[in-house]
Amino acid sequence: MGFNILVVDDSAIMRKIIVKSLRQAGITLGEVHEASDGVEGLKQLSAHPIDLVLSDINMPNMDGLQFLRSVRDLKLSKSVPIVMVTTEAAEETTKEALAAGAMQCIKKPFTPEHIQDRLSFLWA
């Protein structure tokens, strides 16, 4: 059994790269769900059992920080680990994401090794 994941990013190419990098990092994936913004991400999260969420920050409609806060307000999804994958790596943004309940932040550009390192909590 692998991890059921949700990847939220407005770039379909980036979603594809993230999933590929997770596999290259040696993470066994179960179901892979995708969303192009926070609104769609919330719908996916309500519809499927998700073990891990990876979300961009800078997205249309509902950005990653709003999505993160909304997820934390959903009782059923309070504990799902959310990792931000973003170019918005300013210290302030990272702190804001962690304070809002993100487990980790991964800065773009990234390698499978960066992902493996940042997701080591999955095996803790």
């Binding site: 379909a12 590929k20 170019t87 918005e88 210290e91 550009p109 990234f110």
Partner: protein, 185 residues
Amino acid sequence: MQHVSQVIETVTRKIFETMIPGDLKTVECLEDPAAGEPMSQRAEASSNGNGTHHQVSTRARWARELTAMVGLAGQRPGVLAIHCPRTSAGMMVRSMLGELEAELSPTELRDAMGEIANMIAGAVKLWHVGEGRECSLSIPTVVEGQDLEIEVLDARERLGTEFTFDGQPFKVELMMAEQAAHSQC
């Protein structure tokens, strides 16, 4: 603190080293190549020996068929843009996906080029923040066509760095307006 042109070159190199494997070279233009005209002749390139820079003559012309832009808002508003021919974009995106034979739709090409622009713009944002200026980024916009010009009103700085990726040209350009009058920095 690095000058922003160094930031752009450094981060572009880092992005390619990390996610877009291939042969990236910085082009040192002997004169402003005035990119934007259809390429009529190939660059006359000569390596400087270390494999990272080469020179092109002013006869080098290439078509800006695709431009990916990210807007910067804040105390020094502007636009970060990548210009390239479609062939360059295709090579970069295939390398990014690790699928060198992939058939790419126009949508995929635009999407990926927008993401590359977004990653470079992210570094420019960090540079602004490091200089004590607020900065926020728009989502990427990609336009296709050769006869377009981008103008940032009141732009005081227009910095451009040309590269080749596996021999194919592209240019990263940053236009920044004067510090806004209401800024506190």
